[in-house]
Amino acid sequence: MSKLRYALYTGCTARESTPELLSSTMAVADKLGIELILLDEASCCGASHLQDFDEMLAYTLNARNICYAEKMGLKLVTICNTCQLNTAMTKHQLDKDPELKEKVNAKLAEVGLEYKGTSEVQHFLYALIQDYGLDKVREKVVTPLSDFNIAPFYGCHNIRPSELHEHSTGGENPYNPTSLDSLIEALEGNTVDYESKNKCCGFHVDLQAPQTSNALTGTALLDAIDNNADMIVTPCPLCQLNMDLKQHSAGKQLGRDIELPVLHMPQMVALALGCDEKSIGLKYNVTKATQFSK
């Protein structure tokens, strides 16, 4: 197999409050021999909020991001569910609606760009599974995660709406997703089956409706705890932030103590592949994963 090459769209979070996401992603790619080229020209995807204010502006900025992957002739790979949704949704709308595409391209022409629709958009989790292959990941495991019960938390924006993601996820069913479970199994971890695994973490209303956000985050965390999870793992940094940071306030609202490490998907892979401590970056997690401290 020739070396896999992708344009990596980092999103904002991986460059700001979750640097461990970017460093562990790069470390995993390095170990597996995948080449990730940073899409440094890219802007914020609007995190599903910009489109509420000005939908056309959100389409234009996201289309611009895709243009740069197209220029390199590479697939655009994301490491955040919300980046994935917004980028894939822009692509979907532009590809199916020539009128919209023309409007957006009229704007992009002003800065010398054109959206063509030639680059695929895929989350790194699914690139690992579909392009690289879990069998090959399994071969590279040096520290099996067999001592841990790991609860997969899928995050809404990678799996819903399924019509939009079907292609890039290889047909993941949002009511019974399996990809993250199979990744955990490939790393020889024990998967935790719990109802909340495909539910919402509440992140997006954290500012305006903290009660809603806390209730959803807390319910998911408690569900994992009640099913004997040692940790949660998620492909979305926004889920990770909300679930990692809000344990105290969610616990207070729901009347129970909550303490459970929440890892980024690439952090978990990096641990199993024996990447160095610095790039795994566990020190940045608010609720410490003490299981891994030597």
């Binding site: 609007g46 909020h49 509420d52 009511y175």
Partner: protein, 349 residues
């Protein structure tokens, strides 16, 4: 020549012998676990399990009928049209919202395996088995004025015409059959009883976009209210997945958001500033300034995030003393982004 009824059916449907016989080769044994509850006699709900042979063409409604006809006549569920049009037969199977009369049983076996669990749309609203008290749904529906409000000339001299472009703007929101599948799949509604929910918001959009309607402003005011309106949607997309009519409720919610700004109805509050604040950051850095967006949106309210901010500082996630924003990433070719914002942005707060 006289034909039997069977012959006529075969003739009309072009069926050959093979097709006319039940397809035993593709029949599967399925365990159906059914939620049972009678609000008048039961203290708690319970489940009953039925082993059934399910042929490849059977719908969930066929299985509901068989449970009632072959096993327990007291089993209760709603159905009327059997054509995916009345919305009465909506239930949940293994947590997935379905219209019983549209959903093929074996398709669900493919997703969930040989055990199917039938439950009402909302267990806490269960009245009898699959039947729920849907009054909260209808209250929310009524609240958005789900009708055209217009001063109509009693003796019109010409037709009110709807152009194709105008009709397209409905985005098929007028296809809603009020089945409640989205409403009872919405997690925001589950934890916030005041939230109008996806179905009512679809209706709000449907009538607000109607060119004959005169209550648009009123509806936009209502649906922009904090605690009940569009700002309380958590963006989980459960409603999109649940809708049997492929209406995509969150798409209409996004349109309502945009219309608030377009029509100058949006008031400055934490939610509207949060949405608008993205432009402010992206203009400066290309990226979102995660600290600034919280401070800008919250204003003085930012103090309530203190304890979390301290946790983030301790973990090295944020850098409060980086006043020169040295640690803030900046997109390459930022000037392109700034220009695109300048020539594309139309909405204001």
């Amino acid at each position: 020549m006289i034909h039997t009824e069977e012959e006529v059916i075969k003739e009309v449907l072009h069926l050959n012998e093979e097709e006319h016989r039940p397809d035993f080769a593709h029949t599967r044994k399925v365990k159906v676990k059914v939620f049972r509850f009678n609000v008048e006699t039961d203290y708690l709900p319970y489940y009953k399990t039925y082993e059934m042979k399910v042929s490849k063409d059977e719908l969930i409604l066929d299985l509901l009928n068989r449970i009632k006809w072959e096993h327990d006549g007291s089993f209760s569920y709603r159905r009327s049209c059997r054509h995916g049009i009345c919305g009465a037969c909506a239930i949940k199977v293994n947590g997935k919202a379905v219209l019983a009369c549209k959903e093929n049983a074996q398709d669900l076996v493919k997703i969930f395996g040989n055990e199917l669990v039938f439950e009402p749309q909302s267990q806490k609203r269960a009245v009898k088995d699959m039947i729920i008290d849907k009054s909260d749904f209808w209250e929310k529906h009524a609240a958005v004025k789900p009708y055209v409000e217009a001063t109509v000339d009693p003796r019109p001299t010409k037709e009110t015409l709807m152009t194709p472009t105008k009709a397209e703007q409905f985005l098929e929101s007028d296809y809603c059959i009020q089945c409640g599948a989205c409403h009872y799949s919405c997690p925001a509604l589950e934890v916030n009883e005041d939230y109008l929910g996806p179905a009512a918001l679809v209706s709000a959009y449907r009538f607000t976009i109607d060119p004959r309607d005169e209550a648009s402003e009123e509806r936009l005011e209502l649906t922009s209210q904090m605690g009940i309106g569009v700002w309380d949607c958590v963006k989980c997309n459960e409603c999109v997945e649940a809708c049997p009519k492929e209406i995509n409720p969150i798409e209409k919610i996004t349109k309502l958001h945009n219309m608030q700004f377009e029509q100058g109805i949006a008031k400055r509050n934490v939610a509207t500033k949060h949405a608008e604040g993205f432009v402010r950051s992206i203009k400066k850095y290309g990226y979102l300034d995660e600290q600034d967006i919280v401070m800008y949106s919250e204003g003085l309210g930012v103090v309530k995030h203190m304890s979390e901010a301290i946790k983030m500082i301790k973990a090295g996630k944020i850098h409060p003393f980086d006043v020169m924003k040295k640690k803030m990433p900046r997109s390459k070719n930022l000037d392109e982004i700034q220009k695109l914002i300048k020539i594309t942005q139309t909405n204001k707060l």
